[in-house]
């Protein structure tokens, strides 16, 4: 197992574009968070008239964009090997496929954690600097249990997103197909829910779509009756990730490595 892990780690580390993943994630995260924090006020739409403002959640909004870097890395970890044909030597060196997939899962988890740490720290510091003065408190002072839950939950969220992407890539193999499927599954439900006025539909999407369920962990104020609980939401995402990883593992195990 150590050998397989080392091999995966070397592959990930030595490709220039993936070595930059945490930085890219942090930059993308800040690119969304900074303008939102800079313009936030008590009456902005970002706060929501009904729910009020949640400084921690507002600060961490950028993760919705920053996760792109993690998704691309996780997908490429699998699909790039099929694209270039590297999968054949990989499986020759380590024929036990579940071991290969486990090693890949561990490396993308590490990458996601790294990217998450940088992004979350950047967001919270930016929120601490920018928010007070706009009638909103800092997300850091005082450090509360819900704020810690939101920060650590966001790290777990990114890990689960990475595993979800890896599993789909193992099942679909082609980069463009896998990437577009992941992106559609994550972003489209929330967008489409905006078109449907019916409360029940909206609640359903909000609770059980992978992205909105997982991001519920970022709520620190009293969650409304419709929204799913912070840990329950992360649990929903974990269930999706597990299912997709299992499907990916079965397909990876059974199929021939096409070149």
């Amino acid at each position: 197992m150590r050998r397989a892990l080392l091999a995966e780690w070397t592959k990930l580390r030595t490709v220039r574009s993936t070595a930059w993943t945490p930085w890219t994630a942090a930059v993308l995260t800040m690119a969304l968070s900074l303008p939102i924090l800079g313009t936030a006020g008590p009456d902005t739409t970002a706060c929501g008239a009904a729910t009020g403002c949640d400084p921690v959640r507002l600060s961490l909004t950028g993760v919705q964009l920053g996760q792109l870097a993690v998704i691309v890395t996780a997908v490429l970890t699998m699909s790039a090997e099929y694209g270039t044909g590297l999968i054949v030597p990989t499986l020759t060196a380590e024929p036990r496929r579940l071991r290969v997939l486990t090693a890949k899962a561990i490396t993308v988890t590490a990458t996601a954690l790294c990217a998450g740490l940088m992004s979350v720290a950047g967001c919270l510091i930016a929120g601490h600097v920018l928010l007070p003065g706009a009638d909103l408190s800092s997300p850091l002072v005082p450090i509360t249990w819900p704020a810690m839950r939101a920060a650590s939950g966001t790290l777990l969220y990114l890990v689960l997103i990475a595993l979800f992407s890896l599993g789909l890539a193992a099942a679909l193999r082609d980069t463009a197909t896998a990437l577009s499927t992941v992106l559609a599954l994550l972003y489209m439900p929330g967008i489409l829910a905006r078109f449907i006025a019916d409360e029940r539909w909206n609640t359903l999407v909000d609770r059980y779509a992978p992205m909105s369920a997982g991001l519920a962990v970022q709520n620190t104020d009293h969650p409304s009756a419709q929204s799913i609980g912070p840990w329950a939401g992360l649990g929903v995402l974990a269930a999706y990730a597990t299912a997709v990883m299992a499907a990916g593992a079965v397909l990876f195990h059974r199929r021939d490595a096409r070149t």
Binding site: A49, A176, R194, A197
Partner: protein
Amino acid sequence: MTAGWRTAGTGFGGLMHAEWTKLRSVPSNLWSLLAAMGLIVLFAVMISSGNPGTYAETPYVDRFRFAHQTLTGDGSIVTRVREQHATHPWAMAGVMIKQSATAGTPYAAVAITPGHGVRMQARFTTDIAGGAHRAPRWLKLVRAGATISGYESADGRTWRRVGAVSLPGLPPVAEIGLFATAPGGERAVPMRPALVKTGPAKATFDNISVTGPALWSRWRVDDVGRADSPEPPATARPPDDGGAFTLAGLSGDILGQADDGSRVIAAVAGSIAGLVPLLALGVSFIASEYQHGLIRTTFTASPRRGRVLAAKAVVLGGVTFAATLVAVVAAFLASQPLLRRQGFGPPTFPDPSIADPTVFRVLVGTAAFLSLMTVFALGLGAVLRRPAAAVPAAVAVALAPMVVTPLSGSPWPQRLAPLAALSIQQVKETDDAFLLPWTGRPWTGPAILTAYVAATLVMGWLLMRRRDA
């Protein structure tokens, strides 16, 4: 080598034939197209069947804060709206005569709005435009029998008549006063949320005077249309000496049910769902050639790279246009019975016909929008070459306005992004709605998208010429 392959190298027609063969013989291309078509229909059906729209129970929305006196017989009210704090283009602050402070009763009002100037409105159906002014503005309402006339003025001396309406059956005793409203969730283009920051209705009035032969001069403040108002009206009454008075209330609206284009908009709203597979198709159509080295064969057969890219763009654009047009028309036809069942039926919402020029423009324009977006992704694929870079880039550029717009509340992200082409789906909007930018100018958006497509294709062509395959 077959005869077809030999002709592929000869003219542009042969080149297009070669690209057509590549497009239809790769299974993942066909799956992307089918997925897009399926999603377009599926989401149109979902949106059409899960949407009661704004008017779930009554054919009107009647919710506002009303500071009023009881007026018997003829009379008038004059005030100056000194300041209007609401930002929604259809927020209203002004003067009103209403049968009673109960939702749904007949009324006539003249009001100032932040986005649509002075309006005189009555009985949920009449809407007369006055001058395109914002607060401060003087407003006057005069009752003479069943006729109510509305006036506006810049200084309170020279008055301009906005309009006159007849309210037959208005009893001699009616309520007259000041009102303020600001649409929150209420005024949505039923299928698309309006693009505005929601905030409470708030306006400051001064120089208030009510005149009438028989006036019961006690002011009362009511939240019309809110039986259980979560924020009871303040105790402050308009002063009798004509000083300033601020009326602040919850969000609300005064609006009658009218054909707002819902039957068309809902039927094509699902088009956005098909976007992601189409973007993947556009990127793959060129990037996968680089990935598998096929591009070298392509360029050996036809060394002029501009022609190859042009052939790809024409074939891809044509095929996606035809496929999505089928899907959009199917979605439109499948949605109509569902929308009727949701209450969007005649006489208020007449059955739309494909032959109607607006409906035709929306349907064909939506297919053109989807096809242009696919070619845009092709251009990005030509520039970036790797699907891992081009797919997220295309998706981010396409979806960013959808994510950013609700967060920022500004109309500009969706006006300037490639997605601006969705303006072609406009039917009867009065303001920019979510993903319906450029109100009143449906062709501006497609022009912007065309510019994006041309720019990426030219950039891709220049890079292809310079770079080795």
